[in-house]
Subunit: 711 residues, 2 copies
């Protein structure tokens, strides 16, 4: 069964509403560009005052067209749109491209007009592209509703929040002369069809081998994540997501009125769903193109080959910056390479085949084969002069080079390991590189870009393996957990810390022992439980949210006397600062041993919904914001990527005299927290902060659970 947007994106019949004989008018240029780009469907100009336009019979209205119309290209002014769509709806038109601006992006009146238009479209089931779009191009039938002619056709699809950025990607593709376009579309105001629906179609589109996105904001981010997960399993999706910093965010807001959440959240949840998120706009095309060609990369271990040391140095640094590892080649591989180039300057990896002998491009072929057969290596990067041996060393070298190029492409497929070529000569377009690309191996001019392509292949490989795992199974809440949440909800309050702890325990989270005492009178019981170990004493009160600020926490109290004094101090402090607070008691718990401070939380993102976070505590979260995010639910593989994905993950290996953090414990706890948040839709936020990871395990020192506000 064809996709529900199939006929809209690949229309076999197009009605041009507002068709015109005036070459200045959009209604003329639209027909002209369809004809000029050899559109293979049928075009029906609509204009009550004409009988023929550009050689085509003209119809007074779309209802008069003698066959079913797949797509209406609406070239009339914004104000006419509701009426036009009404007419389209009556005529059974499947979709419409609204080229005009002047809708929600422009004014309140425009917003109302957009609402009205959508209401009409919904009534008839007409799907809308735009408004405020500069159109669409789809290669299959040559449907060029964009106006830019001679777009190279190929296997990349582009979805963009900005017509201007789309045009930038387009000139890039034209310049490079490869990696042409399957579908290209600026989504405009997304009044009706949303990003994820286009993506869903492209997921089913055989011509599309990779999708490029420029995104300023989603109107339905959770739906997008769902579609992205499905599509990423089949084909790579590369994205530039605006909103990385306040400057971009405010520029984006004024541009399309879209809401951008925390960029780190976007990045985390989009990567989780399989996207390759690039931080530089100029990496979007190279990365997407490379991903469309490369086999999935099994790990992050790269080998570098060059004749000459400088490019190797730069490549090695770029690899390290992007988390790619230069694994040492096996002894057998090194022996093979030594036999090929006995004078080589280096052979263990990187391989510098230079070293006094004459350059011979065929070395690349035999060295590449030795490396690709090495189980220590996941991908190969050739850097430097490759591509120019023919130019520099004559015709025979040129012929050899062409053969090596074809051989590299064959080997890449045979061994299932990515090959990327960085060539100083790329922009000069030597024939060898054209042949290389034609055979399926990507090449780049810039070293950092080439390395970024491999890093993207590694990231995408990891994501695909993870997405192929069975999704985390929902675990129903045990009745005692449900009862805790229900009681708090009925009382119109969040969970007390004792309840939050009980909830965690009901879900199987092991916590350090603690005691609830009613007041100073309970100090003896506390001593009975904990002896003379130093303890923390804190108030339990639904009315006191920020316990430390209220002076309601005392640390390092010792023995019954110490606890009693602590309770008295807290009582005095509350009497001063929160005299109205109802106190449910005092929680007494042994001080956690010294260790690494961590936090786990659940929060509600305005765009992506419930999100789980992990990070290091203290300055790492407050100043550095070294935290990772994933959308709920998560499985162990997600959790492990979260833990390993923080910037200063090295802190977990035991810095500053602390023992190493047992990452498995944290992974397990993250998955549990995800289960808890999923099992109780009433929960809005969870905050386990700090968690102290010490030699004996993990201690959750403070636990808060916030419920959704009653609506």
């Amino acid at each position: 069964m064809p996709h529900y947007l199939e006929n809209v994106i690949h229309p076999r019949t197009i009605a041009v509403i507002g068709a015109s004989k005036n070459p200045e008018k959009r209604g003329y240029r639209a027909i002209k560009s369809l004809q000029a780009d050899r559109y293979q469907g049928r075009i029906f100009p609509i204009n009550p005052r004409e009988t023929e336009i550009l050689g085509l019979p003209c119809y007074p209205n779309v209802g008069a067209v003698p066959e079913p119309v797949d797509l209406a290209l609406v070239c009339t002014a914004a104000a006419t749109t509701p009426g036009v769509i009404e007419e389209c709806g009556r005529a059974g038109v499947r979709g419409a491209v609204l080229l005009a601006g002047g809708f929600s992006e422009a004014s309140e009146a425009g917003r109302l007009l957009e609402e009205e238009t959508v209401a009409v479209a919904r009534r008839y089931g007409v799907r809308l592209i735009g408004p405020n779009t500069n159109g669409m191009f789809s290669a299959r039938l040559g449907c060029n509703a964009l106006g830019n002619l001679d777009l190279p056709r190929g296997q990349l699809s582009i979805l963009s929040n900005s017509a201007n950025v789309m045009s930038s990607l387009q000139t890039e593709i034209i310049f490079h002369g490869h990696g042409g376009i399957a579908v290209m579309l600026s989504v405009g105001n997304q009044a009706d069809i949303l990003f994820h629906e286009y993506l869903d179609l492209l997921g089913t589109d055989d011509e599309t081998r990779a999708v490029m996105f420029y995104v300023e904001g989603f109107k339905d981010a959770p739906a997008f994540l769902k579609t992205l997960r499905e599509v990423s399993l089949r084909k790579p999706v590369a994205m530039y997501v605006a909103g990385r910093n306040a400057a971009g965010k405010s520029a984006a807001k004024s541009h399309s009125g879209s809401l951008a959440g925390d960029y780190a959240i976007s990045q985390g949840v989009l990567r989780q769903a399989g996207a390759v998120v690039v931080a530089r706009s100029d990496e979007l095309f190279p990365v997407a193109e490379a991903l469309s060609l490369l086999p999935p990369m099994a790990g992050r271990r790269v080998a570098i080959v060059s004749e000459g040391g400088g490019p190797i140095t730069v490549a090695s640094e770029a690899c390290a910056d992007r988390g790619l590892e230069l694994a040492t080649l096996s002894q057998a591989t090194q022996d093979r390479i030594h036999a090929i180039v006995p004078a080589a300057t280096a052979i263990a990896n990187p391989v510098d085949a230079g070293g006094g002998t004459d350059p011979r491009v065929e070395y690349y072929e035999s060295i590449a084969e030795a490396i690709l057969q090495d189980p220590n290596i996941d991908a190969l990067l050739l850097v430097g002069l490759f591509g120019a041996y023919g130019i520099r060393y004559g015709e025979q070298a040129g012929r050899d080079e062409l053969r090596v190029c074809e051989s590299l492409a064959r080997m890449m497929q045979a061994y299932g390991k990515p090959i990327v070529v960085q060539s100083h000569f790329a922009n000069l377009k030597p024939p060898a590189l054209a042949a290389l690309r034609e055979a399926g191996v990507p090449y780049q001019r810039g070293m950092e870009t080439a390395v970024q392509c491999l890093a993207a292949a590694a990231d995408y490989g990891e994501a695909r393996r993870r997405l192929a795992l069975p999704p985390p199974a929902p675990r129903p809440a045990p009745p005692e957990a449900r009862a805790i949440v229900e009681a708090a909800r009925k009382a119109g309050r969040d969970l007390l810390e004792t309840e939050a702890r009980a909830l965690l325990e009901a879900h199987g989270v092991a916590l350090d022992p603690y005691r609830l005492i009613a007041g100073a009178a309970g100090a003896a019981a506390a001593q009975q439980a904990f002896g003379d170990a130093p303890v923390a004493v804190k108030v339990v009160s639904a009315d006191i949210v920020h316990k430390s600020d209220a002076g309601a926490v005392v640390l390092n109290a010792v023995g019954a006397d110490g606890v009693a004094q602590a309770v008295a101090r807290i009582e005095a402090s509350i009497a001063r600062r929160a005299p109205q607070a109802a106190v449910q008691g005092y929680l007494v718990a042994p001080m956690a041993p010294r260790g690494t401070e961590l936090l786990i939380g659940v929060l509600q993102d305005p765009a992506y919904g419930k999100v789980i976070t992990f990070g290091l505590g203290g300055v790492f979260v407050e100043i550095i914001r070294d935290v990772s995010f994933r959308a709920l639910p998560i499985g162990p593989a997600d959790a492990r990527e979260m833990v390993n994905g923080i910037r200063y993950a090295s802190m977990l290996d035991g810095a500053r005299g602390n023992p190493p953090v047992r990452r498995d414990d944290i992974v397990e706890l993250l998955v549990k927290v995800s289960e808890i948040a999923m099992a109780h839709p009433e929960i809005a936020e969870i905050d386990l902060n700090p968690i102290i990871a010490h030699a004996g395990g993990c201690s959750v020192v403070d636990a808060r659970v916030i419920l959704q506000a009653a609506s």
Copy 2:
């Protein structure tokens, strides 16, 4: 007076040693490429077995050449080199290019051969380029001793540690078709002429407007810094410095000392000396080219102009990432822009001139003028479609666009503010952009690259203003300070903490009060001094370097009893862990108030010599390594850049409940520490760590001074 390398780099006469009639030989190709590139001097082939080569009379040896020879191009094998140089020396040749490999880069025998060659050269005053270089190109007389023909000639000079990277820069220049080469040279093994000598020449070279460097290592880094400081005042120097991920740690006694060999040191001291250090190899050419064209930038405030929002969003994010500020345009400027483009989507900055009206390239001219006249703005960035108006909107738009391009170049000079254009169409080379560049305004394809060019202009502007300040005046050490250092030096030990403190005080650094007591008996005196304020007690002993590890520090002791107990604990600990240690006494000082932990240090870098460092303490130095470096001596402007240049400088504004750090105090302390280190050449390392910046000022909590090991 001409520079001493003038005749070597711009030779008027060249002897080709090992000239040959065999087209396969280097000695043939060298002459051929000089002739082909229209060398304007005279060529003398040297070969005892020939009388004529390539139409030139051949000489049996260089001594037989009938006129003075500026440069010998040595095309013979490595082993012949000492003899060849001997002959050159006798003949009065000024310089020689040693093309052969097989010297110190290859083997121990090669290293000896190189040494021998240099010794001969020194004897006669022959200066050597290489060995192991692929040659040199200088445009003035068309001296192409490289073999790559048709190099575009222009105003950029290239110095490279790698022939291969040089070749990469060269193809880049050829592709872009602008920004040609003045001098290009791969330094090879730097057996004789070092980087700084070439740079010194280029500093005096009128043809060179900017210098590009690819550096893997200096043989005389301090000399390079000195030359760089001088040259940077006159022309920009852009560098890619390898070693970003190298470990290269030296054995050092102090915490600061352990930072030696860091890439961050290279970066800090090279920037201090005026270099623009790029982190991506693909930014080297664009940045150098832009710097060769742009007027100095007075601040970091950029305005962005576009028609269309997407590129503005990307540009804004790229600016924020690189510390460029989108300052709000003055109301007057906004009014002017509004009058030009009433329907503009945004006008405060960024300016989005789009908004429903037809695109008109002349808007860029009038908007640019309004912006350049605004005192709030230091530079202008045009992004998006500029350069393609002619292509997209017809001939009249094309003519207008050409005029706007010339006008932009005129305005850039008139207002003395940099203009950079990012154009999606750059790689398609539209005529407008060629005209723009011809008129002196740089353009780029990539947004991030364009923004990097402006950031580089801002950095270079700052550096130039700083370098123009008078250098810090040396302050002689006061006699009492000299006496302290001398006493320790004679005793063959480092300074005791009490001596380090006395040294700081002798140089005018204000420290918190402290007392030295001989032992527990001195506890009463300590109480007399500090009352019941909690104090730190630590051992003073030349034999105990790591006091905390030896259990020789007790914090928060209170009163005479507390101090006595602390001394007893330390004595017990030393008795166990360092029983041989001679104890000079115990230092008692009040605990510093809560505040922000900082460190200042001086260390000995193996390449750059004495370096000063500043950073945040705790995890910020241990894990994040958030420290900045400068070579000694520093003045207040350097110190301020150090303080503002750490990554998490926001911590200094008072994070985590701490008061803001008074940056002036830190600047003053840094300058003092620089003066101390300069005044006492015997000092190897200084470590003031931690320094606590609190509401009352700065407390130096621990001070260590390490002397140079007796040689």
